[in-house]
Symmetry: C2
Subunit: 429 residues, 2 copies
């Protein structure tokens, strides 16, 4: 059980600033390159990156069944594959090692030198090799906004939407960690008034505020995962910015869905926050009406109260928080998404990623994309530097943040931050 590790009164002997996303109650997992150019699996407390490979070699995980090289890898896939019991044992042990009442590592300067890095010394990498990435479309507010804009406000939701968590497959190869700049994509569009499709840089690049969960091996081909087991196969969550080119999307997406409008890049936060760490922040998800079919029926608290924010920062460095939303607005829960995804026997592997879809809240200042915030460009968003945005401009940086807060404890996700670079010059030889 994670209860002891989640104890809000627990303190660490490491220095943690008051508003840190990473108190000793968090203990996320990630992959980083150390100052010695060694890649390792690690965790974070405050502004310290902790090398779990080194901790393991020094014997701090004795008694937990782990292979010798489990943390000396460039992805978390094998560790995630070890299953929930192992993740929990390791997280609890880390909680003990850094507990203020534990002086073993605290008093060992050599060990501390081998294990502790400042966050400034390390370079965060993609935490998993993502096998398959699926993106859901599970915020009712977002689906309603998009349906109102592009179809009919009276029938904004399509007939299937309230009966199943609509989703589509995305591209794994272009998911990048926070800090990796992204180029404005080139592509085909067919703007109003044109007589023929045009080629050039997308003019309507947008962010999408999402979260994504990472799974472990869960089933054999052909076997559904029952809803009541689904959460056991979720390792943790990250922030997810599903970059979108609205003008490319509009022209390409019928009848098979979004493709190049989405697959040029998606940005994730590099630390995976475990479901165990989020346990204290469970809340009820929105009431579902009509009641779903039995394989999707769920009782109890299966959502999480995670505050989400997006900053837009032009090249001048003056940030504006353009939206504030919350993960709890999601109509379909992660367990429902996973039960639906596998009801046909679809196989889920360790390191697969499932995005929530854009998380819009009920009020216009809580929408999860510029498309909605600027209502298709009709209501430009005002920035603090006096400029306006209908969509993202070259060299703008978009930063997603997320955190839970309760009883003085803040469990956060850090950030998923990306600068949009200008499009490449493209000329066919």
């Amino acid at each position: 059980m994670p209860a002891k590790t989640n104890d809000p009164n627990k303190k660490t002997w490491l220095t943690v600033s008051e508003n840190s996303d990473f108190p000793i109650q968090n203990i996320p997992f990630g992959v980083f390159l150390t100052r010695d150019d060694i890649i390792t699996i690690g965790t974070r407390i405050g502004d310290y990156a902790i090398d779990l490979g080194a901790l393991h070699q020094l014997g701090y995980f004795e008694g937990i069944p782990l292979t010798d090289d489990i943390f000396l890898q460039d992805t978390l896939n094998d560790f995630i594959s070890d299953g929930k019991k192992t993740w929990r044992s390791v997280r609890n042990r880390i909680g003990e090692i850094f507990d203020i009442r534990n002086d073993i590592l605290q008093n060992n300067e050599d060990h501390k030198k081998a294990v502790l890095f400042s966050m400034e010394e390390v370079e965060m990498k993609l935490p998993v090799q993502i096998g398959d990435y699926t993106d859901f479309y599970s915020s009712k507010e977002h689906a309603t906004n998009v349906g109102s804009m592009f179809r009919d406000p009276e029938n904004a939701l399509l007939p299937n939407w309230l009966h199943l968590p609509v989703a589509y497959h995305g591209r794994s190869s272009t998911i990048v960690p926070s800090g990796t700049p992204v180029r404005r994509p080139l592509g085909q569009t067919y703007p109003k008034g044109a007589n023929t499709p045009l080629f050039g840089p997308s003019k309507l690049v947008d962010f999408e505020l999402e979260m994504a969960f990472i799974t472990t091996d869960a089933n054999a081909l052909g076997e559904p995962i029952p809803l009541e087991e689904a959460e056991d196969y979720i390792f943790g969550l990250v922030l997810f910015n599903d970059w979108s080119a609205r003008d490319i999307q509009k022209w390409e997406y019928v009848p098979l869905g979004p493709f190049l409008a989405k697959n040029f890049a998606s940005t994730i936060s590099p630390w995976i926050v475990t479901l165990d760490a989020l346990e204290p922040f469970r809340v009820q998800s929105p009431k579902q009406d009509p009641e779903p079919l039995p394989y999707l029926r769920q009782y109890g608290e299966h959502s999480f109260d995670i505050t989400l924010e997006v900053d837009l920062t032009p090249n001048n460095g003056i940030p504006t928080t353009v939206t504030r939303s919350n993960f709890k607005h999601m109509y379909w829960t992660m367990a429902q998404q996973m039960a639906h995804h596998t009801i046909n026997g679809c196989k889920v592997n360790s390191g697969d990623m499932m995005g929530s879809g854009t998380i819009s809240g009920p009020s216009p200042d809580s929408y999860g994309s510029l498309l909605e915030l600027s209502w298709q460009g009709t209501k430009p968003v005002k920035l603090k530097d006096g400029s306006e945005r209908k969509f993202i401009e070259d060299n703008d940086t978009v930063t997603l943040r997320g955190y839970c807060q309760k009883e003085g404890i803040r469990i956060g996700f850090g950030e998923a931050s990306t600068q949009l670079l200008p499009a490449l010059e493209y000329k066919r030889k």
Copy 2:
């Protein structure tokens, strides 16, 4: 250059039956489990599986820059990553080793014992770890048939179809090699006349006759692959059966495209036939009108004359060939598909797979799915055992075959064969 290896007069010292798909001019690549339960990369001539790991250890690839363990792996990804020059050198060398005029291996019984297996002794595996899988929709006849059935025969093609190769992302985790049985999927449907969605086994399971190509690492994130370079990054092709559940698809696919209707399984043939082996069978692709945008404009012969057939075999074992089509019917070429896929900077990796979409020919007996062959069930397909099919029934086996033939040489793909098992009994606890 592959010219010498492709020479139609070339003979091998191995026994090859007259109508074999695998003469010495083919030399495909695959992964198999040997009689000693060792997994290795191999090739095939006639009914011999050839262990390339053993050949390499015995020094037969001397002079070609290969790492020691390049063939002692359970996927071809690293070998494919070595690039076209290396694939070509290895294929040419294999052609020399098994040439009837070369007696080195031919006269070495010990080496032959280590290297040669009969196909019956080995178990074929998935040849690559598929990172991302994309499915195109590039047969004009198929898109027209589907558009006529579901929309309007007068406007069967959607406005974007003639301007870009429409595609969507599929699921990698459920691509299986020939011989792996597949379960009829469970899911939600909303049949005509129902008042609410229903749950149960799909009633409209279908095959889709496709081919897929496998790529190597081709570009950095953000960099398009120019059309004229695209073929250099294609390792080879396989047969591809994109299993589909039409009733699930109809209810789920708006607005984000097919999801559970497709991702329960796809079947591939296990031997990857290289683009070099297909070189003699190049043909012009259909004339494109309107002319595409410059980044998609292509001249010369960029399609291949590959005869395709599908057998449907009920549990009684009596097969019926239900369709005969050809890869050359594809409106968009593989190079155009790849240039389009990466025009926005989408990264392509070694082992990625790109499906053609259902390949329907112009005549009703050349359609690539039962949906089209039975025209939505209105014209049941007659089988040789006297039964009829509107869609696939439990325990039916679907077998795709493909081959090129010219000047007495036949380069084939073997088969992609799959039995459909009955659905699981599913009851929510």
